[in-house]
Symmetry: C2
Subunit: 603 residues, 2 copies
Amino acid sequence: MAFEVHYRTATCGELTVEDVDREVVLSGWVNRRRDHGGLIFLDLRDRYGLTQVICDPERSGGAHKIASDVRSEYVVQVKGVVSRRLPGTENHQLETGEIEIVAQEMEILNASRTTPFPINSDAIQVDESLRLKYRYLDLRRSRLRDNIVLRHRIVKAMRDYLDERGFLEIETPILMKSTPEGARDYLVPSRLYDGEFYALPQSPQQLKQLLMVGGMDRYFQIARCFRDEDQRADRQPEFTQLDLEMSFVSEEDVMSLMEDMLIFLIEKTVPQKHIKARPFPRLSFKEAMDRYGTDHPDLRFDLPLIEISDLASAGTFGVFKSALAAQGMVKGIKVPGGASYTRKEVDELTEFARTLGAKGLVQLAIQSDGTLKSPLTKFMTAEEVQAIVNRLEGQPGDLLLFVADSVKVCNEVLFRLRVKLAERLKLIDPQEMALCWVVDFPLFHYDEDLQRYDAEHNPFSGMDETHIERLNSDPLNIRAKQYDIICNGYEVGGGSVRINVAELQRKIFSLMKMNDEQIHEQFGHMLEAFEYGAPPHGGIALGVDRLVMLFADEENIREVIAFPKTQSAQDLLMGAPSPVDEKQLTELHLQVRRQPQNQETRS
Amino acid sequence: MAFEVHYRTATCGELTVEDVDREVVLSGWVNRRRDHGGLIFLDLRDRYGLTQVICDPERSGGAHKIASDVRSEYVVQVKGVVSRRLPGTENHQLETGEIEIVAQEMEILNASRTTPFPINSDAIQVDESLRLKYRYLDLRRSRLRDNIVLRHRIVKAMRDYLDERGFLEIETPILMKSTPEGARDYLVPSRLYDGEFYALPQSPQQLKQLLMVGGMDRYFQIARCFRDEDQRADRQPEFTQLDLEMSFVSEEDVMSLMEDMLIFLIEKTVPQKHIKARPFPRLSFKEAMDRYGTDHPDLRFDLPLIEISDLASAGTFGVFKSALAAQGMVKGIKVPGGASYTRKEVDELTEFARTLGAKGLVQLAIQSDGTLKSPLTKFMTAEEVQAIVNRLEGQPGDLLLFVADSVKVCNEVLFRLRVKLAERLKLIDPQEMALCWVVDFPLFHYDEDLQRYDAEHNPFSGMDETHIERLNSDPLNIRAKQYDIICNGYEVGGGSVRINVAELQRKIFSLMKMNDEQIHEQFGHMLEAFEYGAPPHGGIALGVDRLVMLFADEENIREVIAFPKTQSAQDLLMGAPSPVDEKQLTELHLQVRRQPQNQETRS
């Protein structure tokens, strides 16, 4: 450009009345152009803000002519003078809203075709696949831009916090060893060793423990992890976690550090939010399941689930009786003010419960005059029904809803019904962050499909020292030294104090029905490491994508990832996955087995 | 532990005479145990330092008994009182060297087998494959520990520096699209789309440019990159780079930012080092090749290469004549004081040159009395020989060495000979950091094998605006807007101001003999993005492993990576790559083609 070596002397977000009369050069995108009484107004946009540029035929010379050629999303450079806007024309929404640039010279740095969706408005709903294909355009819109900036700030704050406390960020390999245990690995064929593969890490779990054996004392990493699982709304083939491990610590040490860090992150990066309770409440796994039907309860609202199995055994109500006879339970929830719901509204809730596997919802409405409206009244005495009302602390105007089924179905249905009711009752403050710990997990559950014990968290979790002998007698009643951190109903992290004794670790693997050869093949290096002075250690991993999603008030992690994949694991921008040259496959000693029946799945 | 919930109240690196009489709890590894006159001395070690613990039979009670059982690398917890060491027994090398802990209680937290190599001495040479297999033990030794700590500090300082200047760290995907152009990709088979693959990124080049199109303005990432190439000493299958891109910048903007950042990093993390010249010298590609025979010269010493082709054409010396007749050159180097080298020493240098492809070295010794000893004197006049001596500024006592060969061989041989001579002449100050820029690269070179033009840096590099027309007439004479940063003879980074005009980018691809279909298939998304208001932009990538290696005075990047692979791409600790279950391959629609002749390569 002839008149200026530098493309800009200021960004589009920084000029104010302090700068009036300064000669400046700006570069940016044309967010909007308006022609008004012979004048041309351009809103020039960059990551930092918007600045209004005014071109008039007298003062702006050639710039006025050029401005008449530009369209939305053209990249232009403007030289001009900062001026105070006329009184009454200020825009107090903008940092730069009291000034404008009177253009003297202008150059088009690059043109733009008409974009497939408008950049200057977030209000317009755009099909997500179009947004993903043109991600570079979507990133110009304020929603994604703000999310990406927030993500940077959150992760930077994590690093600052941990660095100050002596943690070392240590990179662990992406080309790892496949371990069939756990989720499905992504594999990477080796060219040098035919028939052999690397695997992308599901987490740096083993290596972070080996770093503790290596004396690194306090480790963290913002680590990329990979799982080749079928995707849910908030899953991606690759995701990012804050992975952390510490030596010479108890559960309390890890939890109190993380609690302090999360408070720091919220106060620093989203000060408009408020934390519901400090210190974070701690629920046992059992309390969480009993009261909320889930181990990741949303504590922004109360609406507890209340079991009435003991009361439900009275009377002759077949629905209750048969559930209890089948080792099931009866559990209910109170809907304040729900007695006034229309039949249609109640039917909707019932239908919702059915889609989750319930046979139906048993209703009990406490009308404003105190009379009860419920099928129960036909099968139970007034006292028996009243006992149930009392258990749920029902008041006139409330609706009580019950599920009678297996423990699993009752919890699953009522957990989700509770959230749905909270939304309907508008009990959720969008600026509230309700964090809690869930603790006292069992070390094992019994996997009926695999016909063996399986680790509740991962096979490296330590256990209550007084429970070690139960490994032989009662494995399902061992308390793990495990903790999950929950925010607004999302599990945002979990961890444990680990096993650091080879024999104990070996015992866990054998309870998981691994034989000695499998143990040696997959975990021999861990067991060997534990023989060389492994310190007590523990750690945690937080889901960075999910945490940023919650901080950003988004409902899907794709909104906080610069280049996400679709739910079917495709990159619509680059076009991945894609076929490769036969030569590449030959070098990798591979041949594709085409499966005709699968061809149709792609479309 | 009975007497203390917390494992420690201090680390092994922090107690001083200020703490005398404090009761403390320490945990760590037994670095060394000495028994001395009934007393037992333990040096307790953690990441932070060493603290001496003294157990005496009177004051330490049961701790003395336990201390007599511990061995090197046992993990122990000690409770005791900080005491001043007796005068004359202080260790001024240690931060904690004026105090010791008089043990009161002790517990063995974990035992250790005898380690395969000693942890408490870096002096002992250990076979590298043993170090890699027991990496968790090697990490306890001070050399690796210090390197890992330094790496953390360097990378943290990079992030702080860039964050302060408005850069956003943005994560780009690891599961990418394969692009055959460039080095060989690592591939990841897709389970959902049979016969299709992701590729691990060789660099986030395209995505960082798309982030600029997306208005992110200033991006960086500490990015993991992958190349499936045969390994050299300082290559790894995966490596880490500081990847950076900026919008609205010239070459000067990127270079001056990086120069300032590198100075900041050195001053902050290795203050004992000194930077040879500021601002960093800038050499054109041509100057670097002429004067040093390489585009990544070591400027800690001078020893320039000097061409004498014009002078060598005089006389009748066949070696010179035939090289010049074959379009070659004659180039020399002066070895100060080299006239006194023994025949054996000169023969060694000649042999070294031969292994690099030279036919030999032509010698010219200027003896202390000024007489010349050289084969040249037989084939040239005294004046002709003297002209050569003058060109190289030869002084009595110097040895001049010449290579007559193709330009490529002359440069390659003399580049390496120059470094070897500098080592022999002890011209290298190990604390010196000689940084320089190499600029004015040609945009293209002609690849004889591929019979086409190939990008010198990458196909996205921009070019001098005044040279654009040469794309049609003279592609080899286009100056690229490219810059490499060199430190002590290593290329530590490189980048360019990019093309942001679709038509120009398309022209580059077609000069590289890609047809329209290939261009569309591989780079269609880039060309399309450039149609939507792509700003001027440029960037750079720095090799983090190599930079840390230089800061840490190491000669191999494996010494600054926590879990490196061998030169043959194996992970000796975890055992990767490895065979996988047939079930995994079936899910990925793959079959291994065994190649019997390759089986032997593994051993």
